[in-house]
């Protein structure tokens, strides 16, 4: 059994724990300057949107190319479903079913 990624988990913990603990352990830090608060608020949607884009719009070869296929459409449909239902699971389910159907039909 590989233990290769366990150090990465602890590195990720080191990157996460300060934001969870600092205000609790040092009251006063919660009063961040407004620009910093504004940036932090936008960091979550930005990082996750960038991740989705890289994974569904770029090929994994080097150099990458734009990926044209059903996958970006499926991700967009997932986004629409999540937007309408405010639930993640139906959106992911819809995306997976669409791509599975297209692939099984030999179109993807």
């Amino acid at each position: 059994m590989s233990l290769g990624l366990i150090p990465l988990a602890f590195l990720m913990w080191l990157a996460t724990y300060p934001s969870r603990a600092l205000p609790m352990l040092a009251p006063g830090i919660e009063r961040l300057p407004p620009p910093a608060v504004a940036y932090l608020r936008l960091a979550g949607p930005s990082a996750l949107a960038a991740l989705a884009a890289v994974n569904c719009l770029l090929t994994s070869d080097k150099p990458p190319h734009l990926l044209l296929g059903v996958e970006p459409i499926a991700v967009a449909i997932c986004a629409v479903v999540v937007w309408r239902t405010r639930m993640l699971l139906p959106g992911v389910f819809a995306a997976v079913v669409l791509v599975a159907v297209v692939r099984s039909a030999g179109l993807g």
Binding site: M1, S2, L3, G4, L5, I6, A9, M12, W13, A15, T16, Y17, S19, R20, A21, L22, P23, L25, P27, I29, E30, R31, L32, P34, P35, V37, A38, L40, R41, L42, A43, G44, P45, S46, A47, L48, A49, A50, L51, A52, A53, V54, S60, H65, E71, A74, V75, A79, W83, R86, M87, L88, L89, G91, V92, A95, V96, L98, A100, S104
Partner: protein
């Protein structure tokens, strides 16, 4: 043990805990299947089962864990993964700040341990509970933490084990990861600035990615996206949403994170 604080009528601790458990069950019911998807994603990134379980218990941050699985698969350097993790999880600063007044009487050691389990869902459930009882309840906080930690870890392990028995590509499970990321991002959107930040991040990530590779594009998009969002003027009607950051002093840190809590409960990941 609950400590009473504040004025006005409050629910009994037992009554509020019952409601906390009910809300927690609803959260657990989606954490388990989303954990399944994460388990599948880790299989694609060549994690071991131990890697998956340790990641769930030690990191305990679904969005960042999904991101890490994708980045590991791309061969991204670990320091870059840590940077993305810090960015994705930076919102916890706001959650922690909002809970701090309720925890003021607790020992530093207890607060340090509790901080480890601070997730979107734990924050949303525990803050609502503390407000109902007008005070702090350590058992309530741990209930709020465990209703996400247990199903998330369990679901991830099951997803990992089940992945060996299925053809991920044929079943199109490879698309679940980017779809989940897009959905989670959308779940955090509540104003024009969020939309601009997310779309800006997508544009930067793709353009930079085409030139320098996917992992560089990802980091560039994640870092530059918020700056693009900040360039969008704030509408008065959005002043209680993401745009509230422009008037953070007036709203106060607790007001900001209240909105974050409402959105967090809808995200579907720890």
């Amino acid at each position: 043990m609950a400590t009473a604080a504040g004025a006005g009528p409050s629910q009994s601790v037992a009554e509020s805990r019952r409601r906390l458990l009910g809300d927690g069950l609803a959260i657990a019911s989606y954490a388990l299947p989303v954990g399944l998807v994460y388990g599948l994603a880790t299989r694609e990134a060549n994690f071991s089962l131990l890697d998956v379980v340790v990641s769930c218990v030690v990191v305990l941050a679904g969005g960042a864990q999904f991101a890490a699985a994708g980045l590991v698969k791309e061969g991204t350097p670990w320091l870059a993964i840590a940077g993305v993790t810090a960015l994705v999880n930076a919102r916890h600063l706001l959650y922690s700040a909002a809970l701090t007044p309720y925890m003021a009487t607790r020992s530093r050691r207890e607060r340090a341990v509790m901080a480890h389990c601070l997730t979107d869902e734990t924050f949303a459930l525990s803050l609502a509970h503390f407000r109902r009882i007008h005070g702090f309840d350590a058992r309530g906080y741990w209930i709020a933490a465990l209703v996400i930690l247990i199903p998330w870890t369990l679901g991830s392990a099951i997803g990992y084990l089940a992945a060996g028995a299925v053809d991920i590509n044929k079943l199109a499970l490879d698309v679940a990861f980017p779809a989940a990321m897009a959905g989670l991002s959308l779940g955090m959107v509540s104003g024009r600035r969020d939309v601009a930040a997310a779309l800006g991040a997508v544009a930067v990530a793709v353009l930079v990615g085409l030139v320098a590779g996917g992992s560089v594009g990802l980091v560039a998009g994640a870092v530059v996206g918020p700056f693009i969002g900040l360039m969008v003027p704030v509408k008065p009607a959005e002043s209680d949403g993401s745009a509230s950051s422009a008037g953070a002093d007036a709203l106060g840190p607790e007001g900001i994170v209240e909105d974050a809590a409402e959105r967090a409960a809808e995200e579907g990941l720890p």
